[in-house]
């Protein structure tokens, strides 16, 4: 089971967290076209490489944060401080 470096709680089992999804900026809902909005809702880049993604420390500090993970090696880099602004997709 993957260890996820929560900025507050330290490395925790991924089952302690909720994987929110790829970090993407939320379009303005009053201005977005259906294509733009659905791109945001359903399309993921899913790269083989470094990926910015959002996690929620559900069983620990209950903070949302963005991490960079390599999808090939599951290595994390640049663990950020909590409170960084990330996308809000559930």
């Amino acid at each position: 089971m993957l260890l996820v470096p929560c900025p507050n709680c330290g490395p925790r089992n991924s089952s302690d967290l909720h994987y929110v999804g790829e970090a993407q900026a939320r379009p303005n809902p009053s201005e977005a076209t259906p294509t733009e909005w659905r791109e945001y809702l359903y399309m993921e880049d899913n790269p083989a490489g470094w990926l910015r993604e959002n996690w929620y420390c559900r069983s620990g500090c209950r903070q949302f944060f963005t991490l960079e993970r390599h999808t090939g090696s599951n290595e994390f880099r640049n663990p950020p401080m909590p409170g960084n602004k990330v996308g809000g997709k559930a």
Binding site: M1, L3, G10, P29, W37, N54, G83, A90
Partner: protein, 953 residues
């Protein structure tokens, strides 16, 4: 030669049995005696039993071949426990052991006739023969299933205790042979916290069946392990290595639990499983009496068992030579030593169905023998390394696979890494243990440094140690896989080398395809014995080298795990309200709802409905999700979460709201009340309590960190009681002095805080899920039972009675209130539920706004409507389809249905398409019995009191 050629030898210096402790057990209906420390296998052979099972496909008689955990021929039924590995399980007093797969009996097996037609039972036989005609398959299956191997499962077996444990050692060592013990001791001696896991019953590995000097080294290492404070688990197997060294361990030696699943997060994993001896492929290689050299050495030296009377030993290495020496020492006639290193070979074994009688050699000679020992090399069980990403590479010179990729936090030592004397293996293990301990201290430092809330980590990060270990050598070994004849390759699946060659000719010539097509390596032995031979036979068939063919990937688990072991102890918490003791004392029928146990009814839900509608009822709604919201920006949060408007909710008021996800699908609903200037209480559905909290936090932390709102979950902090019915005001009035409950002062959709039955700081609001005049009381949980009991006592003369979830569901259906997740599904967008007035697109932003704007213009959305059947006595089942006229076109479905005690007729909610949503539309409902009935779409969701006069009273 008769079975009596087997038996017990005189005492051996290395034996692990205690001859002063006899144990009686039952085998196949006969009472036998063994000694404490005997495995089932050693005890049976000591009693002269040579045949223990029949093979899976051809039902050929089989005897022990490896006489250890991996033996493919030794699966037995022990009591109600099927598929027990008799080469490993120790005998116990009174144990009842039965052979498996031997219908009608071990000696006379009519399915052995399969052997006569064996050439028809080639790879893919079942697929090819029984695939057509497809409709006959069920008939074939019934017949074939009586041939299927495996023991009997007794459904009445009492549940046994299984357990789980979580641990975080610095170093986990898998394998307690010389290298593994040395690694564990060395790591612990420099301060690492070490867990040593040994598959067998004793530490020592191959030293246990070696010389007295070998055993002295093993004993010395075991003492060192113990003195260093290593935690040792024997009869325990490390079953899998997962991401970041999360390892699964099955402990079979726990004093209380049948099995204990240990989940360990190892900072460094040391893999030291040793080597597994490989069988040789030749005609007759599965006859009882053909054994591997390790089996013979274990039986003779550890269990004092005589494995035969006259032996031929086929040897390609020192182990084989030692086996011949062992046999000679204990007085067994070694008729011939056939040395593969001199080009000698074994061609076939023949004899009766019960035993080998003669062995044909490469030089054409035949030797009479009842025991044929083979020592043709080893398989490195690289499974755990495979799971860490390693792909083993074949080495021709030593005729086995070696690890190739080094992962930083997984180290290997011992036979899997190379060959050496006992001293060399110990030295390599020690170096590995020191390396592991050093690296573990770095990992430990990093974990602590990454944890903001921990004690600041002392000092700089220790240096990551490069691998300084001298490499173990690789002894030359002849490549010996198959003789000049064909034989069995996979003993547990009964797959022969001929089958593999045929499959390769049919085109299944990639090793992964061949494996799946023939099932070679897919049986209980899981490739430990047969993978390399399978690859070798395929390489021969393809005219290529083993290196070119490659090997299959070994995946978890290393050994099979029982379902009981995986399930372990149940850790799931159960939630109950503070009123639960009263419910239990008053005849409740409980219902499990998520993590909650709550009252479904107290005998008769219809009576509960009638009493609530006539007098007054009280119900425990504690699981209702409750979030305490405080701060100046709460209205902004509410506006963001709900589809309707919240900026001007007056203090003392309650409002209903609908929540949607960003795709416009209904996520949750509930009421939120404003208790003070900056203080609100939000309720969510019971099932949404946790997810809506996360949803609110998501908006606050990510999109709007500038909003000042603090969210506190108070679901269990309050016990929630709904008091409903025409007499509810009178009842609540008897308990409340400091709040004016009159209709004028406290009208519908208002909230008040006050004292209930002497309990201060209670929240009460007037809402009406049941459709009756009702007061919902949120009482600090410590006083929940007190308030409930006071309501029951004070309301006795008013006819107060409790009602459960079922009555509540009937009443809400009578009122046409939908339930999120019951009447809506994962695709139901907000316009479907008939509350378009609550969707305020003129708000700047709210969750789901974009999709809802488009959905409201669409005529493709389904509609939730109230439905009544023409025949009032028929209650269509939930999920019954709604069809278009007399066709089979599905236009909707029933989502909720009940017999209404109030209206004395059936009432439903359902989803229909736009064309069928108009009031008065006649619908066709398909009942579960196939009958089609008529029903009508109603003009209002509420079947009862559509104007809401009762609840506003």
């Amino acid at each position: 030669m008769s079975a009596s050629e087997l038996g017990r030898l005189a005492a051996q210096s290395g034996e692990v049995i205690d001859r002063t402790s006899p144990i009686r057990f039952n085998w196949n209906g006969n009472s036998l005696t063994g000694f404490k420390g005997d495995t089932i296998a050693s005890a049976l052979m000591a009693n002269g039993e040579r045949i223990v099972s029949r093979s899976m496909k051809y039902h050929r008689p089989r005897g022990y071949m490896t006489a250890d955990f991996w033996d493919p021929n030794g699966f037995v039924q022990v009591g109600d426990d099927p598929n027990v590995r008799s080469g490993h399980r120790l005998i116990e007093d009174g144990m009842t052991i039965e052979p498996q797969n031997v219908w009608p009996s071990l000696d006379r097996d009519i399915k052995a006739a399969n052997g006569l037609v064996g050439r028809f039972l080639s790879a893919g036989f079942y697929y090819k023969t029984f695939i057509k005609p497809q409709k006959l398959w069920p008939a074939y299956e019934r017949v074939l299933s009586t041939f299927a191997p495996g023991g009997k499962v007794d459904l009445d077996t009492p549940h046994r205790y299984h357990d789980k444990r979580y641990t975080h050692p610095d170093v986990v060592v898998a394998g307690g042979g010389p290298a593994g013990m040395a690694a564990a001791a060395a790591a612990a001696e420099v301060g690492a916290n070490v867990l040593l896991v040994e598959h067998e019953h004793q530490l020592g590995g191959h030293l246990l069946w070696g010389s007295d000097a070998d055993r002295a080294v093993a004993a010395e290492l075991a003492n060192r392990v113990s003195a260093a404070g290593v935690e040792v688990l024997t009869n325990t197997t490390l079953t899998g290595r997962y991401e970041d060294n999360w390892v699964g361990i099955v402990q079979r030696s726990h004093p209380l639990a049948v099995e204990r699943l240990i989940k360990a997060r190892a900072k460094i994993l040391v893999v030291a499983p040793g080597l597994i001896e490989r069988p040789y492929v030749f005609a007759g290689n599965d006859k009882p009496g053909v054994m591997l050299s390790g089996a013979v050495r274990r039986l003779v030296n550890m269990y004092g068992v005589k494995p035969g009377a006259r032996a031929v030993v086929f040897t390609a290495n020192a182990e084989g030579d030692a086996a011949a020496a062992d046999l000679d020492r204990v007085g067994i006639d070694v008729a011939r030593v056939v040395d593969a290193r001199n080009g000698e070979n074994v061609v076939s074994a023949s004899g009766s169905s019960k035993s080998v009688k003669s062995v044909k050699l490469g030089d054409g000679s035949e030797v009479e023998a009842d025991l044929l020992v083979t020592a043709t090399g080893w398989t490195a069980p690289t499974s755990l390394l495979n799971m860490a990403g390693d792909r083993p590479v074949y080495d021709e010179g030593s005729a086995r696979f070696y690890p190739s990729v080094t992962v930083d936090n997984v180290l290997s030592t011992g036979g899997i890494s190379g060959d050496g004397s006992v001293d060399e293996l110990v030295a390599h293990g020690e170096a590995t243990g020191q390396l592991a301990a050093g690296r573990a201290s770095v990992v430990k430092h990093r974990v602590q440094a990454l944890t903001a809330r921990s004690v600041p980590v002392a000092g700089p990060e220790p240096e990551w140690t490069a691998d300084f270990r001298p490499e173990l050598g690789r002894d030359d070994h002849p490549e010996l896989f198959r003789s000049t004849t064909h034989g069995i390759v996979d003993f547990s699946e009964d797959v022969g080398s001929k089958d593999l060659v045929a499959a390769a000719k049919e085109g299944y010539d990639s090793v992964e395809l061949l494996k799946r097509y023939t099932t070679a390596t897919m049986g209980p032995a899981q490739g430990k014995l047969e993978t390399v031979n399978t690859v070798a036979v395929l390489a021969e068939a393809r005219g290529e080298t083993i290196e070119q063919v490659g090997t299959t990937v070994w995946r978890p688990p290393y050994v099979p795990i029982t379902l009981g072991g995986l399930a372990g102890r149940n850790f799931e918490p159960v939630r109950v309200s503070s009123i639960q003791p009263w419910h239990e004392a008053n005849g409740v029928t409980p219902i499990i709802a998520g993590a909650w146990i709550r009252p479904e009814h107290y005998g008769n839900p219809a009576d509960e409905v009638n009493n609530t509608r006539t007098n007054v009822g009280i119900t425990d709604v504690t699981p209702l999700g409750k979030l305490d919201l405080q701060g100046p920006d709460v209205p902004k949060l509410l506006s963001q979460l709900y589809t309707n408007k919240w900026m001007k909710l007056p203090i003392g008021s309650v409002r209903y709201g609908l929540m949607c996800a960003e795709d416009g699908v209904v996520l949750d609903d509930g009421v939120t009340g404003r208790l003070g200037e900056e203080h609100y209480l939000m309720t969510t559905t019971s099932s949404g309590a946790a997810s809506i909290w996360e949803w609110a936090e998501n908006w606050l932390q990510t999109e709007h960190p500038e909003w000042q709102v603090h969210v506190t979950p108070v679901t269990t902090g309050y016990t929630s009681i709904n008091v409903a019915g025409p007499k509810s005001r009178e009842l609540v009035g008897r308990l409340v002095d400091d709040v004016d409950l009159s209709a004028e002062a406290f009208d519908y959709m208002r909230v008040r805080t006050g004292t209930v039955a002497g309990v201060e700081n209670c929240i009460m609001w007037r809402i009406g899920f049941t459709g009756e005049l009702s007061f919902e009381l949120h009482v600090p949980s410590g006083y929940g039972l007190h308030v409930w009991e006071t309501l029951m006592a004070e309301g006795a003369d008013l006819g107060v009675k409790p009602f459960g979830l079922e009555a509540q569901r009937i009443m809400r259906l009578e009122k046409g209130h939908f339930i999120v997740g019951q009447d809506t599904d994962g695709l139901t967008q907000a316009p479907a539920v008939g509350m378009n007035a609550l969707i305020k697109l003129d708000k700047e932003d709210f969750a789901g706004k974009a999709e809802l704007a488009w959905a409201m213009e669409s005529d493709q959305v389904p509609h939730v409507v109230a439905i009544q059947t023409v025949d009032p006595t028929i209650v269509p089942g939930e999920a019954c389809q709604i069809l278009k006229g007399t066709t089979n076109e599905i236009v909707g479905r029933i989502t909720s249905s009940r017999m209404s005690p109030t209206l004395n007729r059936s009432v439903c909610l359902g989803q229909v398409d736009t064309a069928h949503a108009e009031a008065g539309t006649e619908l066709t409902v398909l009942l579960r019995n196939g009958q089609r009935i008529k029903a009508n779409v109603m003009s209002h969701h509420a079947h009862f009191d559509p104007e809401g006069e009762r609840l506003r009273g």
